[in-house]
């Protein structure tokens, strides 16, 4: 699929917004303003954006505990996300979900997820809806290297294949599940696992937005044509700890600095589009400033926003009861 100038600007804006969002959440968490468990997506932006650029609101994604990037790439409101993370009433989930449960069904975002392996079966259901109702939509499960080892993921892949669902399983392999290396925990090869379930599997370098975008495009087109599910094994990097507060002693001393220098998908994108003369630095810088301003506003608004009223504790358990 050809990317025109607007597409490239959009890709940059989304990746930049995710990066700025995560860098800021990192400092706000350290300052003590954000409660709970927070897992940051910085370093992995090209995966979420490279995949979600092919999607519209009729398509559904389901995410992981590391979900902020997927939410932004799928069009969730950034300010409402920030309020959610701060536990405010104006949050995307009214302050009830928090970082691990941000969702916006109206945008086809079926939720970040606190349960590793939660997404793949749900995505089979979303794909089934698309198939039965003939919407032409596809459904995509994002899943970590750790999540790839859940039974739910294995079952989901088999079911998607048997039912020939318009689905895609994106295994985001950032090298670790908590402190455990994927080189150890992921037996065999995810691409071969896909083959074992009778679906195409492709490995792709998550530093390279264009590679992700192209591979995802092929898989999504196949799904839309009714040819069934696929798997992408995206190799990428996590720039922060597993969660905010993780001392990361299991990583090599200079590892993160080296990855930031050598394996940054944003730097790689910028180099590629400027060197090829597709976009000029000034256009990118302008977007950087806008993204920074958006995040600044999102944070100051979130901090000033009201907490939910105590009575909200009891609302929305059921539709009716």
């Amino acid at each position: 699929m050809q990317l025109n100038r607007d597409d490239l600007l959009r890709a940059w804006r989304e990746m930049r917004t995710i990066r700025a969002f995560e860098e800021r959440v990192h400092t706000e968490f350290a300052a003590g303003g954000i409660p709970g468990f927070v897992h940051l997506y910085a370093g992995e932006e090209a995966s979420a954006v490279g995949v979600c650029m092919h999607l519209s609101d009729r398509d559904v994604i389901a995410s992981t505990h590391r979900g902020h990037g997927h939410c932004i790439a799928k069009g969730c409101d950034v300010k409402a996300m920030m309020q959610e993370i701060f536990g405010r009433a104006g949050g995307l989930c009214a302050g009830k979900g928090g970082s691990m449960h941000i969702a916006d069904i109206s945008r086809g975002m079926l939720g970040a997820n606190g349960i590793v392996g939660g997404a793949p079966p749900l995505v089979c259901g979303a794909a089934l809806t698309a198939k039965v109702r003939g919407t032409g939509g596809v459904a995509i499960a994002f899943c970590g290297d750790g999540g790839a080892n859940q039974g739910t993921t294995a079952e989901g892949m088999n079911l998607a294949s048997v039912w020939k669902l318009p689905a895609l399983f994106v295994i985001e392999d950032n090298g670790y599940a908590e402190s455990t290396a994927s080189a150890w925990s992921l037996a065999g090869d995810p691409v071969k696992r896909a083959e074992g379930y009778g679906m195409p599997g492709t490995r792709v370098d998550g530093r390279d937005f264009f590679a992700v975008h192209e591979a995802a495009g092929e898989a999504i087109e196949r799904a839309r044509k009714g040819e069934g599910p696929s798997l992408l094994h995206v190799k990428l990097e996590r720039f922060f700890g597993h969660f905010e507060g993780d001392a990361m002693t299991y990583r090599a001393a200079d590892e993160v600095a080296r990855l930031r220098a050598e394996r940054d998908c944003l730097a790689s994108f910028r180099r590629r589009v400027t060197e090829a003369g597709l976009l000029d630095g000034a256009a990118l810088d302008a977007i950087d400033r806008e993204a920074a301003a958006l995040i600044e506003e999102a944070v100051s608004e979130a901090k000033a926003a009201a907490f939910p009223r105590p009575a909200e504790l009891l609302t929305d358990v059921y539709v009716s009861y």
Binding site: F37, G114, S179, S185, A252
Partner: protein, 341 residues
Amino acid sequence: MPKKSFRQAVNEALRQEMERDPSVVVMGEDIAGGMGAPGEDDAWGGPLGVTKGLLARFGRGRVLDTPISESAFIGAAAGAAATGLRPVADLMFVDFMGVCFDQIFNQAAKFRYMFGGKAKTPMVIRTMYGAGFRAASQHSQCLYPVFTHIPGLKVAIPSSPYEAKGLMIQAIRDDDPVIFFEHKAMYDDEDEVPDEAYTIPFGEANFLREGEDVTIVAIGRMVKFAREAADQLAREKIDCTVLDPRTTSPLDIGSILESVRETGRLVVVDEANPRCNMATDISAQVAEQAFDALKAPIRMVSPPHVPVPFSPALEDEFIPSAEKIGAAVRSVMAAPARRAA
């Protein structure tokens, strides 16, 4: 006696039992951590550092990191227990029971009965529970009533570091599957904990305070809140008995009944959601067996029938507090004495 944290108490129990019995192994996600990674081994020692140091002493052969495959490793613990090991498996958060429950309740729990008394399944599942961490709906539940419901499982819920060590050693030596609940907000609580190994028998409630007006039964972290409430109530001249069942299966209903027969009033405090929880179970047993002794309706202090919310503003409202316990006790004291029929 030395002061130790809840975290240290559990760690010490595991270490001492692993020293004593070579068939004890521990397993779980990042239970040591750093598996296959370039940095430090034993980088985590479990998500909250409870098992830190076991790797250095016992090695990877007995301290087993696992992939994120609870169904497989919890089931493996059950299979290993039935065939000669004493595994202690870490189901990090009890909320994750959802992905592996079959191995617990259809397999481990039922071997002994289904196999006509021929099997033993000496396994422990350590697991974190409870609200207060801003960890939201999928990382904050109690769920021990679900395990208590299953015949064949034992359920221990320590209320202090001292209790944690003694109950953990008992759990490891016990020949039945034990689900061992650790409240995530209690790891830094400190208490006097003996250095030597000791056990606390299952099914024996602990009387933490004796008073003649009201019996308060509280579970896990709620014991602390119940004691705070009782201190305040004593200043108001209401004397409470505070009773910690320690295990919900087996449950020492005898001690609860005995106390209610003395006080005539019962308040049960349970952090689990209110339908079919320990409070309803204990209340039903007391109503059935000691109705004649009750001077006032039983009161239950539990959160509402809702998932645990994320926002601090809502979560604080959700969790039972010393104030809510105090109010319940005052209300049973104010209830008109029941006339004999």
